[in-house]
């Protein structure tokens, strides 16, 4: 049974290495998905975590000053409907075209100590009902989880 022992050892090493890499990878990149209301519920626990907050852009709240863009996200449904979150976008990518009043947006970033949100990435979708189908993507943004790619498969 000696070869089997050796195999077991090598397999163990391979798996352990990969598990170690995986755990490291998760800790590095994990992002919490929250709605505006859920973020408010988190309170202090939200500090220092990478967050992705989803909500609707409040009409007329988008303000640009130089490279910074600030706006308000509002909770659209549920018990806490109407809760607001002030978001400041400081990323370098141009904002997606779909980012406008009433759009559904995902802000990726951190919560500041004063309760406002600092985003370095914005993803957005039109709230239009007619387009509310799976599989529409805005080019120019990274096709990450916000939108499924147009039905590819």
């Amino acid at each position: 049974m000696k070869p089997y022992m050796k195999f077991g050892l090598v397999i163990g090493i391979v798996i352990a290495t990969l598990a170690w890499l995986a755990v490291g990878g998760v800790n590095e990149t994990k992002t919490y998905y929250k709605t505006v209301a859920e973020l408010q519920q988190m309170g202090d626990r939200a500090q220092g975590k990478r967050l992705r907050v989803g909500g609707d852009v409040v009409k007329g709240s988008i303000q640009r000053s130089g490279k910074e863009v600030s706006f308000h996200l509002v909770q659209q449904d549920g018990a806490a409907k109407g809760q607001l979150l002030k978001v400041t976008y400081t990323g370098s990518d141009p904002l997606p075209d779909t980012f406008r009043d009433d759009a559904q947006a995902l802000a990726d970033g951190h919560l500041n100590a004063d309760g406002s949100f600092n985003a370095n990435k914005i993803q957005a979708k039109c709230a239009s009902k007619y387009e509310a189908k799976p599989g529409q993507i805005k080019p120019g943004t990274e096709p990450t989880n916000i939108t499924s790619k147009p039905s590819r498969s």
């Binding site: 990969l18 990878g25 141009p94 979708k125 189908k133 799976p134 120019g140 790619k149 147009p150 498969s153």
Partner: protein, 674 residues
């Protein structure tokens, strides 16, 4: 017309149920009449689904906007190709397409095997029909493609349709889904044969020999489909990359990984009669991952925060998967004694162990990708918080796995079966290893400090050297014996054992692709907000914006920048990235301009109009070596086709190949291969 379509789908559903039962009862009672009836029914199911599909296509082409599906995926202005593409451009149509391909495969399997495998064929039909019934349930009762507007909406017809999503209106997107579907659906054939041989307690590996070509062909389709998807993401989405590890991509690559593992580990079973249970598990896992992938892309399971149109379709898939997996697991456990291994591992340094590690890391990669994709779902179930992981997680795990696989690609085929002597190891690997370290030292000297990139380039050379040495050794031997020139001898050599040398070629293609992937370590990107006349630098290029225009077409409005590309002050090219906003859907699309060269691509994207003034936001990227990926893909394609050509010498080669093994397979000596 829509009634005829819906009716034929309903009939297909009934006939499929009949086929399932008459096939199983026929096998049970040994009633040949029932079995024959089941076979005919398979053809009938195909004919009925084809009729329904034909009618839907007719509706799409003719623009029958009374139908919801047609109105939301086709319009009058689209060219014919994209009207056809609309068949698989949306939920209802694409599931019908799935069904149709499945029925095609069913009909082909029945037709090609009707005279042989009398005992297992009824069960093969049973498995295929069971799956067919599931998809027909979806087609008939969950997402019917022949819905009219009138139902509850008060609209009878529309003047014009929405049109296909503009992003899908490119040639590669027209063929990408069919390829992927052919690959996904096709895996049902090996799976059905495996299950049928388990049910009937077939001795031996007949199912593997029968389905080897099927496996290879469907694997090829998956490979083509995935690569087309990468190419599409690269030049259509305009975000500057070909792989983002998003759930849809992951769903397509999962079954491909297990299929690749399966292609390798069946060789163990053929040569040494080992890993029989494992192969059963792999072929089943691949099939269920294909179904799972379809579910993932169709149900909005993962993009839950942004799942538009969450449909109940996921539950149907989950039920099907649960039943299928439970039945398969039970069957495998119940038949364990028929799957006993005929020989044992003897040494860590052997071909067997190469395959074993190949399988281990492929499966680890599959697991990691699956885990990462489902992380939001799992974390929500466990902790109540939805947590997602990003591309860096997938890269962190998969890059080392990829490099280890690359190493095995070179080392595995040159290690002997059972055990290898240190002497033969030295003979085979000394020069490739030296070449590898020399290259790494040179690259290090040239200033490359990224460890993974160094290792990857080194290993690429290592594998190339081992493959080349195999070809050269073989070709010289033949050239001597048959007094041919070396080129003819190489062709002769390949022809004598297509499976082995075709396989080497596939490996070579993978190496070329790895060179392309490694280039990503040196990507450069830049975003500038620039107005006319401004210039900026990226890499060795100086880019100068000479013109910014906008305009209006019938279908879309556009903005375009004209950019001169200069190297050392010399103008070498003019590029015109463009951005279009389609009027019907109000959807913007990028028409990136890519200057493709073997050493590097220059990639320009018109990202947006500048927020202030008359400028444009231009994203510029330099992607070193990216073209190697597409070149490598062609090599893989050619290699796989060579594998599919029957070898000139089948029997003698197999025997010389496995000197020293004593299993029954070998005395049968039927299949020569690596």
């Amino acid at each position: 017309m829509e009634n005829v379509g819906a009716l034929s789908l309903l009939l297909a559903f009934c006939v499929a149920i009949f086929a399932l039962f008459s096939s199983i009862v026929g096998a049970w009672r040994k009633n040949l009449f029932l079995v024959a009836a089941a076979q005919r029914s398979v053809y009938l199911v195909w004919a009925l689904i084809t009729t329904a599909s034909g009618l839907l296509l007719y509706g799409l082409i003719e623009g029958d906007f009374r139908l919801q599906y047609v109105a939301s995926h086709s319009n009058k202005a689209m060219p014919l190709l994209y009207k056809i593409t609309a068949w698989w451009g949306g939920q209802e149509g694409s599931l019908l397409f799935w069904s149709w391909i499945l029925s095609c495969y069913g009909a082909v399997v029945v037709f090609t095997n009707r005279k042989q495998f009398k005992t297992i064929m009824p069960w093969v039909i049973g498995v295929i029909m069971f799956t067919q019934i599931f998809f027909l349930i979806l087609n008939n009762f969950v997402v019917p493609p022949f819905q009219l507007w009138a139902i509850g909406r008060g609209i009878i017809t529309l003047p014009d349709g929405q049109g296909l999503n503009p992003l899908l209106q490119t040639p590669s997107m027209a063929i990408h889904p069919p390829m992927l579907y052919l690959g996904y659906v096709g895996f049902i054939v090996p799976f059905a044969f495996a299950i049928a041989s388990l049910i009937t307690k077939q001795p031996g590996d007949e199912w593997i020999h029968t389905t080897r070509r099927w496996t290879l062909v469907t694997w090829l389709f998956q490979t083509i489909g995935i690569t087309l998807g990468m190419g599409w993401a690269y030049y259509v989405l305009g975000w500057g990359g070909y792989w983002a590890w998003d759930p849809v991509e992951n769903a397509s690559v999962l079954p491909w990984i297990t299929a690749t593992a399966f292609l390798h580990s069946v060789m163990m079973q053929e040569k040494r009669g080992m890993m029989k249970v494992w192969n059963m598990v792999l072929v089943s896992a691949t099939f269920f991952l294909c179904i799972f992938g379809t579910m993932l892309t169709r149900s909005g399971l993962v993009q839950s925060v942004h799942a538009f149109g969450i449909s109940s379709i996921g539950n149907y898939f989950a039920t099907f998967l649960a039943i299928g997996i439970a039945a398969t697991v039970w069957l495998i456990l119940d038949r364990l004694e028929f799957l006993k291994s005929e020989s044992h591992l003897e040494s860590v340094v052997s071909r067997e162990s190469g395959f074993l590690f190949n399988n281990l890391v492929l499966l680890a990669s599959c697991f990691a990708v699956l885990w990462g994709t489902l992380f939001p779902v799992i974390s929500e179930a466990v902790t109540g918080e939805k947590i997602s992981v990003d591309a860096p997680f997938f890269n962190k795990v998969n890059i080392p796995i990829g490099l280890f696989l690359l190493f095995l690609t070179g080392a595995g085929p040159l290690i002997a079966w059972r055990r290898s002597s240190p002497d033969s190891l030295r003979r085979n690997f000394m020069w490739p290893t030296i070449a590898m370290f020399v290259l790494m030292a040179v690259l290090f000297g040239a200033g490359i400090r990224n460890e993974y990139a160094l290792l990857s380039f080194g290993l690429c050379l290592f594998v190339t050297a081992t493959i080349a040495s195999e070809f050269i050794k073989g070709a010289i031997a033949i050239a001597h014996k048959e007094s041919m020139n070396v080129v003819r001898a190489t062709i002769e050599l390949t022809y004598r054992n297509t499976r082995r040398y075709g396989g080497y070629l596939v490996h070579m293609g993978v190496v070329v692709m790895f060179v392309g992937f490694t280039g990503a370590a040196f990507n450069k990107d830049l975003i500038v907000e620039a107005s006319m006349g401004k210039s900026f630098n990226i890499g060795r290029y100086e880019l100068k914006i000479t013109d910014i225009k906008d305009g209006d077409e019938e279908n879309y409005a556009w903005m375009k920048a004209k950019i001169d590309v200069l190297v050392d002050g010399q103008k070498i090219d003019t590029m015109e990235p463009e951005r279009r906003i389609y009027k019907a859907s109000r959807q913007p699309t990028s028409h990136v301009d890519i200057r493709r060269r073997l050493n590097e691509d220059l990639f320009l994207n018109f990202a947006a109009m500048a927020t202030q003034g008359q400028g444009a936001v231009i994203q510029a990227y330099v992607f070193p070596l990216v073209s190697w990926i597409w070149v490598g893909f062609w090599v893989v394609l050619i290699g796989t086709i060579i594998c599919l050509i029957p070898s000139k010498i089948k029997y003698s080669y197999a025997r010389t190949e496995v000197v020293g093994t004593t299993t029954t397979n070998v005395s049968k000596g039927s299949h020569a291969k690596t």
